[in-house]
């Protein structure tokens, strides 16, 4: 157990080292940091002074160690464009992204499991067939097209929901939430649905397949023979046994939600970290890009580490195999 986790941990550290090296080289090779700090009309002496202040004349390894030290204390410097500390900007934008991901995960789970159970039990009904073929289209539609379609129908045509932005936020001091007001919910609904659709179809198909498998097993037949109510069989016996693979898939897919949040946030102009990254690329705002890179890598490394350890705990075969 310990060696397994240590190995995974070492691998994660290696990934983080590579990613931080990439973001470090972004600082050094993209544009001229001095120009970004003082502008075009600084004198030669000023430039040399700033170069020395920034330590740009030090050996590259010294610079890298210093950079790593800064990262570890959460310091990514000032954004070139907004002239504010990057860690502050990210923390400010993070609640928007996390709330979006959270709400769409809930939608994906609730709808996905419900429809999955239904189509798994009523396999031959035409409703199931309609749901399944719709889900097939859902998988092959690009996220941004789903977003545009929803905006056109619900915002432009029916005028029920706002088309973009985040509104009705309440400041809790350390966290700006939009989940406490009606306006906030109205704004989050369309982006959350857009983001959830892909995961929803995945969960639906997975639950359906697992349900069909479980329904064939002996203990379900036995439950039937005991004369248990259909409801009790479906939910207490069958569904519960499908949940283990579903949980692991969900763990892995939180990463997917965060990835696609970049697209969804841009379509709906949702002021989260993904939109911030896209805007940073447009303006070659290197500190934000570098910080986002490290942030995303850290997130994925953590998710994978947790899922790996969960596998280890859940499945005894992996424990014996290693």
């Amino acid at each position: 157990m310990t060696t397994f986790i240590l190995k995974r941990l070492a691998q994660s550290l290696l990934v983080m080292a590579v990613v931080s090296a990439i973001s470090f080289s972004l600082f050094n090779f993209v544009g001229d940091p001095v120009n970004n700090m003082v502008g075009q009309d600084a004198t030669r002496e000023q430039r040399i002074e700033i170069r020395q202040q920034l330590g740009l004349d030090d050996p590259i390894l010294t610079q890298y160690t210093r950079f790593m030290g800064n990262i570890l204390s959460g310091d990514f410097g000032l954004s070139y464009r907004i002239k504010r500390p990057v860690d502050e900007l990210i923390l400010e934008r993070l609640p928007a992204t996390l709330e979006l991901v959270f709400v769409s995960a809930i939608i994906a789970l609730a709808v996905g499991i419900t429809l999955g159970v239904y189509t798994g039990i009523r396999r031959k009904s035409w409703v199931s067939r309609v749901i399944l073929s719709t889900s097939l289209i859902g998988v092959s539609l690009p996220t941004f097209i789903i977003g545009i379609a929803l905006i056109y129908v619900f915002a432009v045509h029916l005028r029920w929901l706002p088309s973009s932005g985040r509104s009705g936020t309440v400041d809790l001091g350390w966290w700006k939430t939009s989940l406490l007001t009606v306006d906030g919910w109205r704004a989050i609904l369309l982006p959350a649905i857009t983001l959830s659709l892909f995961q929803l179809t995945l969960i639906l198909r997975l639950v359906r397949a697992e349900m069909m498998e479980v329904m064939r097993t002996d203990f379900i037949k036995f439950a039937r023979a005991r004369g248990l109510a259909e409801r009790a069989i479906n939910f207490r016996h069958a569904l519960r046994n499908t949940l283990v693979p579903v949980i692991t898939i969900i763990g892995l897919n939180i990463g997917g939600l965060i990835a696609f949040s970049v697209i969804t946030e841009t379509v709906f102009q949702w002021p989260g970290t993904g939109l911030m990254f896209i805007q940073a690329v447009d303006f070659v705002d290197v500190p934000i890009m570098a910080a986002y890179l490290v942030f995303v890598a850290l997130l994925f490394v953590l998710i994978n580490l947790i899922v790996d350890i969960l596998y280890f705990v859940v499945d005894p075969r992996i424990r014996l195999g290693s």
Binding site: Q11, V15, I22, L26, F29, V30, I137, S140, L141, P142, T143, F144, I145, I148, I151, Y152, V156, S163, L252, G255, G256, I258, A259, F260, V262, I263, T266, V267, F277, I278, V281, D282, V284, V286, M289, L293, V296, F300, N304
Partner: protein
């Protein structure tokens, strides 16, 4: 099966008897998907001949004809079948030219990923040891990150590295490299798997005994035998690559509006959605969805047809 005859089977008869060909003509979904894909690719390849207008020729564009709805809607004009965009360009023509760019970028990206992935996969599988461990670890780690996110990140870095004035000129290559670098692990895995199977067969041992160098064995004997599974991945990868390109372009990070791809067209049209000019977004989006769906179906069929377990 053909009836036994005295004369040897002609090339065409042997082709017809091939199990994959048989399976193809007996699955209507695959035939439709292939026909649609082929038609769309042909239409885009021959865009300069087929398109009623040249959207890049300023002489053929007049702002007076801008924002016209499709021909069958009131106010539409018959020469602009799908209407015109904000600059007065014929939608049908821009879609044909845009689709051409989307397909070219998709194909180039898949080729890059394929060359990279198959090379690394074959080397990894045949050489083994440390090389194998390192290459496959990198592939594993990369596979844990969703492709589209990785493409956005690589593309973003690529754009940032380029000086501003070169960005638009090189945007297309940056996109190709970003998508290609994203999908190599799939190819590497499949190619490695096939290599492991082939490497133990007798003909490879024979080649080794007569003293052929390792690289020649890999290229001449192992590589051709990895092609079947690689082809499946390549087809599904093409659909994904086209989506990735469209997404990048839609985010404003891909192909510039001067030479629009389908994604760029949808991005531009999206700005006019609120004024009710739905056709500027709608038709490119439909073209993209149909193209991706057809390629996907084709890939699905191929995966089943080439899978020996399912036959």
């Amino acid at each position: 099966m053909s009836l036994p005859t005295d004369r040897p089977a002609t090339r065409w008869e042997r082709f017809k008897d091939n199990d994959i060909v048989w399976s193809f003509f007996h699955s209507p979904g695959a035939v439709i998907a292939a026909v649609v894909t082929l038609l769309m690719i042909l239409a885009c390849v021959f865009a300069p001949v087929l398109a009623p207008f040249d959207p890049f020729d300023p002489a053929q564009i007049s702002l007076w004809d801008g924002k016209l709805p499709p021909a069958w809607v009131e106010g539409g004009q018959p020469q602009y079948l799908l209407g015109t965009d904000n600059q007065g360009r014929d939608m049908l023509s821009t879609i044909l030219y845009g689709g051409r760019l989307s397909i070219i970028v998709g194909l180039a990206a898949v080729c890059l990923g394929m060359v990279l992935g198959v090379t690394l996969g074959v080397v990894s599988g045949y050489v083994g040891g440390m090389t194998d461990a390192i290459i496959m670890r990198i592939a594993d780690v990369q596979l844990t990150i969703p492709g589209i996110l990785l493409a956005i990140l690589i593309n973003g870095i690529g754009r940032a590295v380029l000086p501003l004035e070169l960005r638009d000129d090189f945007a297309i290559y940056v996109v190709i490299v970003a998508i290609g670098l994203t999908d190599w692990p799939q190819f590497a895995r499949v190619a490695r798997g096939a290599t492991l199977v082939e490497a133990n067969k007798e003909y490879v041992q024979a080649a080794r005994i007569i003293g052929l160098p390792r690289w020649l064995i890999m290229i001449r004997h192992i590589f051709p035998n990895t092609l079947r599974p690689v082809l499946v991945i390549a087809t599904i990868g093409l659909a994904l690559a086209i989506i990735s390109e469209a997404t990048l372009s839609f985010l404003g990070q891909g192909i510039p509006p001067t030479t629009p791809s389908l994604g760029t067209l949808i991005r531009v049209g999206n700005e006019y959605l609120f004024s009710g000019l739905w056709w500027i977004t709608f038709f490119p989006a439909i073209a993209l969805v149909v193209l991706v769906f057809a390629v996907n179906l084709l890939g699905d069929w191929m995966r089943d047809a080439l899978n020996p377990k399912l036959r």
